[in-house]
């Protein structure tokens, strides 16, 4: 029996693990008999779950192993004898008890199943031929397997308008709904966005939103996946394919660094759907809507399918070119630059979009072939690589079961959505104590102890807490979730706060909440200056073998420039070739002016990207790269968990994997890197990089890798992180507002902006101020004000928001319209902004 609401891999099935015969029965075991076979279940386990582990499938609709049972559908009725004679009981509501005897195949059970199915089908429209769920529908499957075979119902069925959109992404067909409470339970319990509810309870019970208040949850797509019928369908997938036409591989979402496990499904060599796969350590089967639907971007008109080049005149148009021509020109430019200005005139920005194998190859190309260490996968919008690579690391599970979680510099709902679901569950359901520091209210603020601090005064605020309660907090386990948060100030405040915690609570562990897909992989493959693959310092280069030890940066022992340094050097005309590895500095660097000057000042700009981003439009050569679902390899999530990517479709046009582009460039520069596929690259990684030595290709390809393999730096290397001394924020300027600029889930990011279903969900740029601040300034919601920072003056729309304290202005980073990054100057501790009325 298949339950198509979940994606099964075989073997083992996900979600409800089949018991491992080698596993010793639990000490607190409860002995039950299922269909004549004895089984030792866990104490308190629900009968339906115990049966599934014992290999007995009990049909069900409303039960879902990741949500609390409700007993709505009665499909799971089985005969249970707990000592007082057999009787029908819903197995999703009954915990096992010692000596329980269960018959899932008795005549009585069968009659109950037939009866329930007949009742469920009374009002079901049976429009399977035009239903997206047809072919993978639990109701269809179970009607065939457990149903009576025919209906006695001849009366008119219930009718509703079908389907109605309940959000931009989800349609609802109320005729098909069997009222299982899965979607509404998910919205309430898991997502915390109860925007759908059962209404008109009684004969006409139906799931609905409030009028004009759509189900605009970041997680709405999950309800489509768990709906056991075709009542909820995804607008982007509607009528796109039939399940039996679909081909699928398991992979990992690389849209953000949570690394949710997914199934990528295609039809006719096009990705048409992504589904969540349940793995215990990470996503529990859930996805965010961005990760679920941004595959659409692969088919956007902005997708680059062939190389583009500009004539040497510089101002000519980008026109299509052949790979040999584009590669020859790139190699030629590189050689000229190296000859004329030395290898350090070459710089590489970006790499967090890459696979581990891509990142390693580019890292090796830059260091050992080109000979430059000016390389940074973060765009001055992350955290110090030395810090990320040397901090003792925590897993998501550890964060969710810590005695105290401390969080700052991130609103996970906006940046790492499924991490938010995990943390929310820990805080709301499991009552894990969380202390959050944030300049503005975040999505978790109302559920935890939330401390407001002025932008720039985080360390102060954290130190205060440590002084008064450090001892108490330190007496238990502590996990710190730390991200970059607001881009309107340097990351030093955050780093100093981390250092303060390290000092006060030495056993605290850290979950780096960096955002981009494979940023952790990029850092671990050495895409940051002064750091080699595996987080090794130059002094340890010999551990990587002679290729690395003999490379120019290592030999000369001169760490290169980080992103800020590269941009400044480019702006000053000291970068002859700037390679953008999936980087879009104009959109992502928190200093628009500097990014502009850098792109203008760099000699030749080479963009390796999937889409023609604003920055790629400025490049001289654009090389098309394959995107998610189009390439093999591995990725690393924020915990350091390495998992395999599944290539599903061929990239459009002549786009190719980033590693291949690096290998060919090396070849044209006279070095044979010897890589023919990504497997060969991982082989080298696991051979030469000590950190990955127990993670050979065989292990990466084993079923074990489906949950991901945790590889963390041993922490015994030479790499040092010198935390900045506590930064002193300037005294509060009563006439200015302090800027907080963090990201939202939907913004102008390349993949989001190029996915038609998601693009419209991104908000226009606006400044959010405390309503009393608006009153003071004499403007109302939707009014306009001028904002003046040392960088520039912009005019923006304002709105009142209680979540923003007085004295602070919040502005979404990278939203359409006046950009927050125009106001920000890289490196300043806080961005003070004066307000002028118009």
């Amino acid at each position: 029996m298949s339950d198509a609401t979940r994606v099964y891999r075989s073997p083992p099935r996900e979600g409800s693990p089949v018991s491992d015969p080698t596993e010793a029965p639990p000490d607190d075991g409860v002995k039950i008999t299922i269909d004549g076979r004895e089984f030792t279940a866990h104490k308190g386990e629900l009968l339906i779950a115990a049966a599934e582990r014992a290999g007995t499938y009990i049909p069900h609709f409303c039960y879902h192993s990741r949500m609390s049972p409700v007993g709505m559908c009665r499909m799971c009725l089985v005969e249970v004898d707990s000592g007082r004679g057999p009787g029908l009981q819903p197995s999703c509501m009954v915990p096992v008890s010692d000596g329980m005897v269960v018959d899932t195949e008795s005549e009585t059970t069968k009659r109950a199943q037939e009866g329930i199915l007949e009742l469920l089908l009374i009002n079901h429209p049976l429009d399977c031929p035009v239903c997206d769920k047809g072919g993978e529908c639990p109701l269809q499957d179970q009607a065939v397997a457990f149903g009576p075979g025919e209906s006695r119902f001849v009366e008119e069925k219930r009718h509703y308008e079908k389907p109605i959109p309940i959000s931009d992404l989800v349609n609802l067909d109320r005729e098909r709904c069997i009222l299982c409470d899965r979607c509404t339970r998910f919205a309430r319990e898991v997502a915390g966005d109860p925007l759908i509810s059962f209404t008109e309870r009684g004969n006409r019970t139906q799931v609905l939103t409030f009028p004009d208040d759509p189900f605009s949850s970041y997680f709405s797509g999950n309800t489509v996946q768990i709906c056991p019928v075709g009542a909820l369908t995804a607008a982007p997938y509607r009528f796109r394919a039939r399940p039996w036409d679909l081909d699928q591989v398991e992979s990992t979402c690389t849209t953000c660094s949570v690394g949710c496990r997914i199934a990528v499904q295609s039809s006719g060599d096009q990705i048409v759907r992504r589904l969540g796969v349940d793995i215990d350590p990470v996503n529990h089967g859930w996805l965010c809507d961005r990760g679920r639907f941004d595959y659409e971007s692969a088919y956007s008109p902005e997708r680059i399918t062939d190389p583009l080049m500009r004539g040497r005149a510089g101002d000519s148009e980008l026109i299509e070119a052949t790979w040999p021509a584009a590669m020859a020109a790139t190699a030629e430019t590189l050689r000229e630059a190296i000859d004329a200005h030395g290898a350090s005139s070459v710089a590489v920005l970006g790499g967090a979009r890459l696979t581990n194998e891509d990142a390693y190859t580019w890292s090796k190309l830059a260091r050992t072939v080109i000979g430059t260490d000016n390389i940074d996968s973060q765009l001055a919008d992350g955290l110090a690589a030395e810090m990320v690579l040397t901090l003792p690391r925590a897993t998501i599970d550890e964060a969710c079961s810590a005695d105290t979680v401390i969080m700052f510099g991130v609103d996970p709902k906006e940046e790492l959505p499924v991490l938010h679901l995990r943390l929310r569950h820990a805080v709301v359901e499991d009552k894990v104590p969380m202390i959050e520091f944030s300049p503005v209210e975040t999505s978790l603020s109302r559920h935890c102890r939330s401390v407001r601090h002025l932008p720039g005064a985080l360390t102060e605020s954290v130190s205060e807490l440590l002084a008064s309660e450090g001892e108490r907090i330190g007496s238990g386990s502590v996990v710190v979730v730390v991200g970059r948060g607001s881009l309107a100030g340097s990351g030093e405040d955050i780093e100093a706060a981390v250092a303060a915690i390290r000092q006060a609570i030495p056993h605290a562990t850290f979950l780096p909440a960096l955002r981009r897909g494979n940023v952790m992989g990029a850092l671990q493959m050495g895409l940051s200056p002064g750091i080699l693959p595996g987080g090794l310092a130059f002094s340890e280069a010999d551990r990587l073998g002679e290729d690395w030890a003999g490379s120019q940066p290592v030999v000369s022992d001169e760490p290169g420039l980080d992103a800020a340094g590269i941009l400044a050097a480019a702006a000053a005309g000291r970068v002859a070739v700037l390679i953008l590895l999936g980087a879009d500095p104009l959109a992502d660097v928190p200093d628009r002016d500097l990014a502009e000057r850098a792109l203008a000042g760099a000699g030749t700009v080479v963009a390796v990207d999937t889409h023609l981003t604003v920055s790629a439009r400025r490049a001289h050569v654009v090389l098309p790269a394959s995107g998610p679902g189009e390439k093999a390899g591995t990725t690393t999530n924020l915990e350091g968990r390495i998992s395999r990517l599944g290539p599903k479709v061929t990239p459009p046009g002549t786009a190719r994997p980033d590693w291949m582009i690096a290998v060919e460039l090396a070849d044209r520069l006279g070095v044979d890197m010897g890589f023919a596929d990504s497997r060969r690259i991982w082989d080298e990684i696991s051979t030469v990089v000590p950190m990955f030595s127990d993670c050979p290709v065989e292990r990466i390809e084993s079923p074990e890798a489906q949950d991901g393999i945790l590889c963390r730096p041993a922490g015994d290397g030479d790499l040092r992180w010198d935390p900045p001394a506590a930064v002193a924020a300037p005294p509060v300027d009563a006439y200015a507002l302090r800027l907080v600029s963090s990201r939202k889930l939907y913004d102008q990011a390349t993949m989001t902006a190029n996915s038609p279903s998601l693009a419209g969900l991104a908000e226009e740029s606006r400044v959010r101020l405390n309503p009393r601040e608006l009153d003071r300034l004499g403007v109302t919601d939707g009014g306009r004000l001028a904002f003046v920072s040392p960088r520039t003056r912009i005019i923006a729309t304002v709105s009142g928001d209680e979540k923003v304290p007085r004295g602070v202005m919040a502005m979404t980073f990278n939203a359409a319209g006046p950009a927050a990054s125009e106001l920000i100057e890289l490196g300043t501790v806080v961005t003070e902004v004066r307000v002028e009325t118009l």
């Binding site: 109860p194 759908i196 209404t199 008109e200 609905l208 409030f210």
Partner: protein, 219 residues
């Protein structure tokens, strides 16, 4: 912030919310308050209640729509529910309903154009010994003959002609208050006599109103 309750009712709403340890518990009393203010529960009212008790409007709708007596469409000033269940049927309810429809010129479920009367056929009103019976704004009238019905309608018209009529909150009012007004007496517990809400999650002891075990028996 939705601005639907009158200032006086908003104060009342806050007082009501203050009675409960968990804000959302005040949802139903606030729905009654909204229905009292407007005669029915408007979307704006549901929106504001959601804000007041910190839930989503969808959750308020989910609760509100469960209860048939919360009207989500305007109803007349007087809602006349004629019982159509067994005992009343046997005692002439059908004729009474027919007569009512003829007299008011509407079919059951509708409202008269002047907005005075909404007519509905209802289920058992727990007054079978007094069949046939009806309710005007949930106030019973027993053993109603067609002639009684005409008198009733005339009396209600007269009442309505006197404008809003006597203060519905005054206990002296003998007439039928507007639809939505639940009772003529409102609960008001002066602060010094209120036990105050006690949180079910933090308070593990006996209920606050229970005298401590060693307290003296009241004389």
């Amino acid at each position: 912030m939705t601005d639907h309750f009158t200032p006086a009712n908003l104060d009342l709403a806050h007082e009501i919310i203050g009675r409960y340890p968990v804000k959302r518990s005040a949802m139903i009393p606030l729905l009654h308050l909204a229905q009292e203010q407007d005669g029915w529960v408007t979307e704006d009212a549901m929106r504001q209640i959601a804000e007041l008790v910190e839930v989503t409007p969808a959750e308020v709708l989910g609760t509100c729509s469960f209860y048939e007596m919360f009207k989500r469409q305007p109803v007349g000033r007087f809602l006349i529910n004629i019982c159509g269940t067994l005992s009343c049927q046997l005692m002439g309810a059908e004729d009474l309903i027919h007569h009512a429809e003829q007299t008011l010129g509407i079919t059951s479920g509708d409202t008269t154009p002047d907005g005075l009367f909404t007519l509905a056929v209802a289920e058992c009103q727990a007054a079978c010994t007094e069949a046939p019976c009806l309710q005007v704004n949930y106030r019973h009238r027993y053993k109603v003959t067609p002639a009684d019905f005409d008198d009733l309608v005339e009396e209600l018209r007269r009442q309505a002609g006197e404008g809003e009529g006597p203060d519905p909150q005054s206990p002296e009012t003998a007439g039928v208050p507007r639809h939505g007004v639940l009772s003529v007496a409102r609960q008001h517990i002066p602060a010094e006599r209120a036990a105050g809400p006690s949180s079910p999650t933090t308070n593990q002891g006996p209920p606050v109103w229970m005298p401590p075990p060693d307290a003296e028996e009241p004389k």
